[in-house]
């Protein structure tokens, strides 16, 4: 199959595979991600979905937003469920019972269903080598149940289970770096993306679909309810996440790390944190240490990524 040209005018002529009428909150990042992912390719796609905002708002009674075959079974098992679908496809094609139509398989899960409760199922499916892609839309908390902390919640964030209290000011821990953990599985493709950088996101999806085996994409997904922001700033915040290096855009292909979008000028982390109500207390007098600690963590992570990005290149800066 030829790779689809990524021009918005051309893409806009195509048929939507994810429909309006879904009931995600106004201004949610997740449906933007889903539509960009499905639009990036013309391959037939079958998707599974972990229980969560995306699942619960896109398939209610007789109303489904999905124009592709789609299955939700439970919270912690989107990867195992799609691995079963993929295994059946493989079996029936092998037996000549159905034609091979180069179907691609995706599991969608939020950070709760991916980093936490679904982590074992995800790790298992990746290790088994199913020809599938897992896409995590990471909004940094259990938003569907009402903004509880997850292992993807950033340091300091105020959530309903780690509120910014008088003694404990928000989440004490840094977030789990799941993209790295997935790369450590030795799978052929891992990437981080952002819906603001639609071209980068779609290129990564296209690239992933040309690779056989398990793939993982982690995509930042602003949530105005949980982040305590305006309904119109999901794309602006996705950009700031990249520009502050809070959410670097990179890919790890067969173990080689490449930063795909390098900010022209690295902005201070506070630029990303400030517009979000969940970090409000970090800007209060006396909490300067929190901002400092958050910035130091992001800096260290970014420096490490730069080193890894450089290590895969020759002196001329070309990838080897």
């Amino acid at each position: 199959m030829t790779t689809k040209p990524l021009k918005l005018k051309e893409l806009a002529k195509g048929e939507e595979r994810f429909m309006h009428g879904h009931r995600m909150c106004a201004g949610c990042g997740a449906p933007i991600i889903v539509k960009q992912v499905l639009m990036a390719t013309d391959y037939p796609i079958i998707a599974s979905n972990a229980t969560g905002c995306l699942e619960v708002s896109t398939c209610i009674q007789q109303y489904t937003a999905w124009k592709i075959p789609w299955i939700h079974s439970a919270f912690e098992n989107a990867a195992a469920t799609i691995s079963g679908v993929e295994a059946m496809y493989k079996s029936l094609v092998k037996q000549g019972k159905i034609e091979d139509k180069q179907v691609k398989f995706i599991a969608f899960g939020g950070d709760g269903g991916t980093y936490d409760i679904g982590f074992q199922s995800l790790s298992g499916a990746m290790e088994r080598g199913h020809d599938m892609m897992y896409i995590c839309y990471d909004n940094g908390a259990y938003m569907n149940t009402g903004i509880q902390r997850s292992s993807a919640t950033p340091f300091g964030a105020n959530t309903t289970t780690c509120p910014a209290g008088d003694v404990i000011p928000g989440k004490p821990q840094q977030r789990k770096d799941l993209s790295r953990i997935m790369a450590a599985h030795g799978i052929p493709y891992v990437a981080q993306a952002s819906p603001a950088h639609w071209m980068d996101l779609m290129k990564k999806v296209q690239k992933a679909f040309e690779i056989k085996g398990p793939k993982f994409m982690n995509i930042i997904s602003p949530c105005n309810r949980g982040w305590r922001t305006r309904t119109d700033d999901a794309i602006m915040l996705s950009k700031l996440a990249v520009d502050t290096c809070y959410w670097p855009l990179y890919e790890i292909e067969n173990g080689v790390t490449k930063i795909t979008v390098k900010p022209k000028e690295k902005k201070p982390l506070a630029d990303f944190l400030k517009p979000q109500g969940r970090f409000k207390h970090m800007f209060a007098p006396g909490n300067e240490w929190m901002l400092k600690q958050a910035q130091e963590y992001v800096d260290a992570q970014w420096e490490r990524l730069l080193r890894e990005d450089a290590s895969g290149k020759d002196e001329a800066g070309e990838k080897v």
Partner: protein, 392 residues
């Protein structure tokens, strides 16, 4: 004609799965079911079956992958025991509610704590309300025969509901017995081609599985699921009739043994029925009219048919290889439910036996029958629920 072999229950079930050749199996090892899928893996790796085997990292994922595979549109099987079934618990309901005819040999084993690997029915009884069909087998032959029949029952277009085929851990799964295998071609022909209903792999007609259903429809979906279960006994009997034509081996919803004119009866499932039958013979020789009823179909439970079979009996002992702590044994509760419809109600006692693989010995059956003789004479029950074979 088939072939007569000396095999374990696990080996017989692995053979049945080999002959059925499911499109996908997803499984995780657990004692005592491990050996079943281990043998089946050998068939896969030797190219004896077309099955795509998914060797998952947990039973939760095993059932999740089975659900994905069954929704995709093909024949699916797995196997488990005990803690494995307990870990699947959430997904059992989803398989049944999604009406996916997944087949699962359940090698019955006790539940922890304390940890124990031996046979009792605690696992199966815990899955009683999941919406799965449950068939219990006395020996390796029955496990083999029931497993083959279960595909026809579960996949029947009026049913489309998952089924577990149970046999006692170690006692049946690991004991070598005489088993009559059916010819490969006959099994294939008996089970027939898989008919997909709403397959996800039908790309031209995309479907969504697993919607959110709230207060206005959930109740109706459960009503529909209940209705399906009411149709299972008829289908099970039709399948059994076809099976008898092929093999000469007769199966019903339950088995009765010298029950027609019995005054006292033991109701017991699975391997313990064999021992009980021997002791009933001894009591018959002494002129005591004893009989046995062995449920085969536990879900759905054939209340009316069992009531009819027991209606002339004066005293009944229900032997449970599981307990419902704070309640009567689960089988006792079902038989009580059956008895409710009788005009003249028999006296009933409940014995909890054989937990964690504790041997069920002839003297336990004798003890129960002696008590029944006394109750039949006096009509008096001193103690409804009691543990037997317990060290005191």
């Amino acid at each position: 004609m088939g072939k007569i072999v000396a095999v374990t229950g696990n080996e017989a079930c692995a053979q049945a799965l080999k002959q059925i050749n499911p499109d996908v199996c997803a499984a995780y090892p657990i004692t005592p079911a491990t050996d079943l899928m281990q043998r089946f893996s050998g068939f896969v790796n030797d190219g004896k079956v077309d099955t795509e085997l998914v060797l998952v990292e947990s039973e939760h994922s095993a059932m999740s992958a089975c659900i994905g595979a069954a929704a995709a549109g093909g024949r699916v099987a797995t196997a488990t025991s005990s803690q494995g079934l307990a870990l699947m618990w959430e997904m059992l309901y989803i398989a049944a509610g999604s009406r996916l005819p997944i087949i699962m040999p359940l090698v019955n084993r006790a539940l922890s704590a304390p940890l124990n690997i031996h046979g009792d029915h605690s696992d199966g009884m815990g899955a009683r309300d999941t919406g799965w069909i449950q068939i219990y087998s006395e020996n390796a032959q029955e496990a083999y025969d029931n497993l083959i029949q279960s595909f026809r029952i579960a996949e029947h277009l009026d049913i489309r509901t998952p089924a577990m085929v149970c046999m006692d851990g170690f006692i049946v799964s690991h004991s070598i017995e005489r088993v009559e295998y059916i010819d490969d071609a006959d099994v294939k022909n008996f089970v027939g081609k898989f008919q997909a209903v709403h397959p996800l792999l039908d790309l031209d007609n995309p479907k969504s599985y697993g919607p959110l259903i709230l207060t206005d429809l959930y109740h109706e979906y459960k009503r529909a699921q209940h209705e399906v279960m009411t149709k299972v006994p008829k289908v099970a009997l039709e399948v059994a009739a076809d099976f008898e034509k092929m093999t000469g081996r007769k199966y019903g919803l339950f088995e009765t043994y010298r029950l027609e004119d019995a005054e006292i009866a033991i109701v017991v499932m699975s391997s313990a029925a064999g021992t009980t039958k021997d002791i009933i013979d001894e009591y018959r020789d002494k002129g005591i009219k004893a009989g046995l009823l062995k449920p085969r179909l536990f879900r759905p439970f054939p209340y009316l048919e069992i009531a009819d079979a027991l209606k002339h009996v004066k005293a009944i002992a229900v032997l449970d290889r599981a307990d419902s702590f704070g309640g009567y044994g689960p089988l006792f509760m079902e038989i009580s439910g059956a008895v409710m419809s009788m005009d003249t109600k028999p006296a009933m006692i409940n014995k909890i036996f054989g937990l964690g693989g504790r041997d069920y010995l002839p003297d336990q059956a004798e003890q129960v029958l002696d008590e029944l003789v006394k109750i039949a004479k006096t009509g008096k029950v001193e103690n409804v629920k009691e543990y037997i074979g317990v060290r005191e």
